[in-house]
């Protein structure tokens, strides 16, 4: 068969049924085969959206997402999405076209050194120089992308390699002598961790994206219950522990909850699972968890000791290690941490953020409260980057993993909408809502054409304040209110913009409108945009860069009544979801 046919066969053998891509000159052989294949191809309107959609697909489903871009500008447009996936450990395979092998290095039309460009932002990359290499390369790419610490893999496919003939091998064995991810944690280390936990009086669990990747939410919850430890998460870990649990502290870090920041500061044992201690999570590392012995469980050995010194490192898969830890712990009486647990619950209640506001212009808290009330626990929400993201992280209560998708590490504006598109394609039975800012959405709004063409019924909520809100916030707090280039003076009418693409659109301006509008949009089963006019002056308390987690600036608006009450969230049955 031809190389291009081998590409499709390899994808199909990996169970891929949908790809997000954009054709180009060197991809003509591949797209000619796609014409006849059963593979569903979604034509995005910008390659960056193909990569983000593949990423959203991967995060929502746990499967590997696939995106395709042509050589040169197609490949460079994929780069932002590849880097985003790399920073957040999302498994995607990016297929890039390349000029013919005889032209490589000649600055041929649409030639770029894709391997060179993507080397620092991908888990691995391949360039096929012979058609016969294709099956092995693509299968290995999927293996690398989804195992160990997941990540993006790039496959560069020169045009003549797509055209060349090969015999497709009957059996493909993955042989990567330099790649053997550790799964089982070292038993001695696990034992040490158990002993440390038993001795602790004030344990806190810090859960990261690794808990979600390894599907170990259940184990994590058991551990929390067993030892009475409150759980804080990184942004990537949001949803791995039900946030309405009285032991949930919310997100940790620069933009984190006060309850998390204070309890991590106080704890004597921090059990960090599948997190990499990013600077946004730790604040000043020298002031991070000053009283704690730290246990760090991570599948990537290089993450251990990279940013924070740890007492007990355990390399391996979080699910396997937590199960092992639970087996040991359940044979003991467990530590008696009732005092600590009670203290944490009370402290948590004292700093629950206020959600209800009847102000005009709309407060983001109120908008997110209404979003919470309109969706179910099965709804997948994605966010863009900036204040919209942090408001969602604070005020939206997640109960399940893989339901809150956000660009953490790279902080990629323009992520939310295409990621929602990918998530909806992966999970067609679930509602998908993207919460974006006006700046970020404008970067990718051309893909309204894609959701219209393929009838991908995502709902995009644009929190519209005519500012680049997060940078504006920093300028207000740290740059003497010198608002440089963050006021978006000329912006489109988003309702008209969506309508120009044939997408339904509504504007929300008053308290109470968001909930109904969103519910109706979700029930319509059609792609919809909701333009939400919000107050630009609403800013979050935060930890200034370079400060410790307790050095929060800005006042919390705190809920005084029923602090443990979270917005009412109907179940899927109640909303008549079928």
């Amino acid at each position: 068969m031809k190389g291009s046919q081998a590409i499709i066969k390899s994808l199909t053998d990996e169970g891929v049924d949908v790809v997000f891509g954009y054709p180009g000159g060197v991809l003509l052989p591949l797209y000619d085969v796609i014409y006849d294949s059963d593979l569903k191809h979604i034509l995005v309107r910008h390659e960056q959206c193909a990569a983000h959609a593949a990423d959203g697909y991967a995060r929502a489903s746990g499967k590997v997402g696939v995106c395709i871009g042509t050589s040169g500008p197609g490949a460079t447009n994929l780069v932002t999405g590849i880097a985003t996936a790399y920073m957040d450990s999302a498994p995607i395979v990016a297929l890039a076209g390349q000029v013919g092998t005889s032209l490589i290095g000649n600055d041929a039309f649409q030639e770029v050194d894709t391997i060179g460009i993507t080397m620092p932002i991908s888990k691995h990359s391949y360039q096929a120089m012979e058609s016969s290499e294709i099956p092995q390369m693509i299968r290995s790419s999927f293996y690398i992308a989804r195992t160990g610490r997941p990540g993006p893999v790039v496959v560069d496919l020169p045009k003549d390699v797509q055209e060349g003939e090969l015999d497709y091998p009957e059996n493909i064995t993955i042989d990567l002598p330099g790649y053997k991810p550790t799964k089982k944690g070292h038993p001695l280390q696990v034992k040490k961790a158990a002993e440390l936990i038993l001795k602790s009086k004030k344990p806190v669990i810090l859960a990261g994206g690794g808990v979600i990747h390894s599907n170990s939410s259940e184990e994590l919850q058991h551990l929390s219950e067993l030892i009475g430890a409150p759980v804080t998460t990184s942004l990537m870990g949001k949803g791995c522990f039900p946030e309405d649990n009285l032991l949930s502290l919310g997100m940790l870090g620069m933009h984190g909850r006060k309850s998390s920041n204070m309890m991590v500061d106080e704890c004597d044992c921090l059990i960090a699972v599948g997190c990499r201690f990013s600077d946004r999570t730790t604040g000043d590392v020298n002031k991070f968890a000053p009283n704690a012995k730290i246990i760090h469980i991570d599948v990537d050995p290089a993450e251990i000791g990279k940013n924070v010194d740890v007492s007990v490192p355990i390399v391996g898969d979080a699910k396997i290690i937590l199960s092992h830890l639970l087996r040991i712990m359940s044979q003991t009486n467990g530590p008696n941490n009732h005092d600590w647990t009670d203290y944490v619950r009370n402290f948590r209640a004292s700093c629950m953020p206020r959600l209800s506001f009847d102000d005009m212009p709309l407060k983001p808290q109120q908008v997110i409260k209404e979003i919470s009330e309109a969706v179910t626990d099965d709804t997948i929400v994605t966010t863009d980057v900036g204040q919209n993201q942090m408001w969602m992280a604070h005020y939206f209560t997640s109960r399940n993993p893989r339901k809150f998708l956000s660009s953490g590490g790279l902080g990629t504006m323009g992520f939310g909408f295409p990621a929602a598109m990918g998530a909806k394609v992966a999970m067609p039975d679930e509602d998908v809502v993207a919460v974006c800012g006006d700046g970020g959405f404008l970067m990718v709004c051309q893909d309204l054409a894609t959701v219209k063409e393929y009838d991908i019924p995502v709902v995009v909520c644009v929190l519209d304040n005519r500012y680049l809100g997060m940078v504006f916030q920093w300028q207000k707090l740290f740059y003497d209110e010198r608002i440089s280039q963050t006021k978006l003076k000329a912006m489109p009418d988003f309702v008209k913009l969506a309508e120009a693409f044939g997408v339904n659109a509504y504007r929300v301006e008053r308290p109470g409108e968001m909930k109904e509008t969103l519910k109706n949009a979700l029930n319509s089963g059609e792609p919809t945009l909701i333009d939400v006019m919000i107050d630009p002056d609403e800013i979050l308390p935060m930890v200034p860069p370079g400060c410790g987690l307790t050095e929060i600036v800005g006042e919390y608006k705190v809920e005084r009544e029923n602090p443990n009450e979270i917005p009412y969230r109907p179940s899927a049955q109640e909303t008549g979801g079928d």
Binding site: I115, G116, M119, P120, K123, H124, Q127, I144, L176, P177, G178, Y179, D300, P301, A302, G305, K306
Partner: protein, 166 residues
């Protein structure tokens, strides 16, 4: 802050195009120091051995080895301890040499350092020397007075003493 030390890192890697770029790129991206890097085929087919000389404290070294191990083409990485390691570098030195006297002196120095004259012209001599980087430095210092026209050094390569292998 831990003490900054020089480290000899030996890595067994798949002998494929782009591997050197991956390794060197890792050092650049992560801000690790790199004094020299040498690479050539190893005793095993399809595998090459790299010797990387790097400076850093223990924490940085730990990151270097861990990050190197993450590269799919890297099979094994070891930080060799200086005492238990044979370390050698090759250097070619082209000196200015017009007078009889300077030519014979240069040849004598070459002999003392167990070097060889590998090329001669009416106005120059080229020496080859292998040894530890310190020994090469010493010879270069001696030859400076004659007028060095060009130096080409390979950077050190290393192997552990005794029967130990990586």
């Amino acid at each position: 802050m831990d003490e900054q030390r020089s480290h000899i890192i030996s890595a067994l890697v798949l002998h494929r195009p782009g591997v050197l770029q991956r390794v060197a790129g890792l050092f650049t991206r992560r801000g690790f120091n790199i004094d020299s890097i040498t690479v050539g085929p190893s005793e095993q087919d399809g595998m090459a051995r790299m010797t990387i000389i790097s400076r850093g404290d223990d924490k940085i070294l730990e990151q270097i080895t861990k990050q190197l191990n993450k590269i799919i083409e890297v099979i094994k990485v070891r930080d060799l301890d200086a005492e238990g390691t044979v370390i050698r570098e090759l250097c070619l030195i082209k000196t200015h040499a017009t007078s009889e006297r300077s030519r014979s002196e240069i040849i004598q120095y070459a002999n003392i350092f167990r070097g060889r004259i590998v090329d001669a012209g009416p106005e120059n001599l080229t020496l080859e020397i292998t040894g530890t980087p310190e020994k090469i430095d010493a010879l270069i210092d001696l030859l400076r007075g004659f007028g060095i026209k060009e130096i080409s050094r390979t950077g050190p390569t290393a192997i552990s003493r005794g029967s130990k292998t990586i």
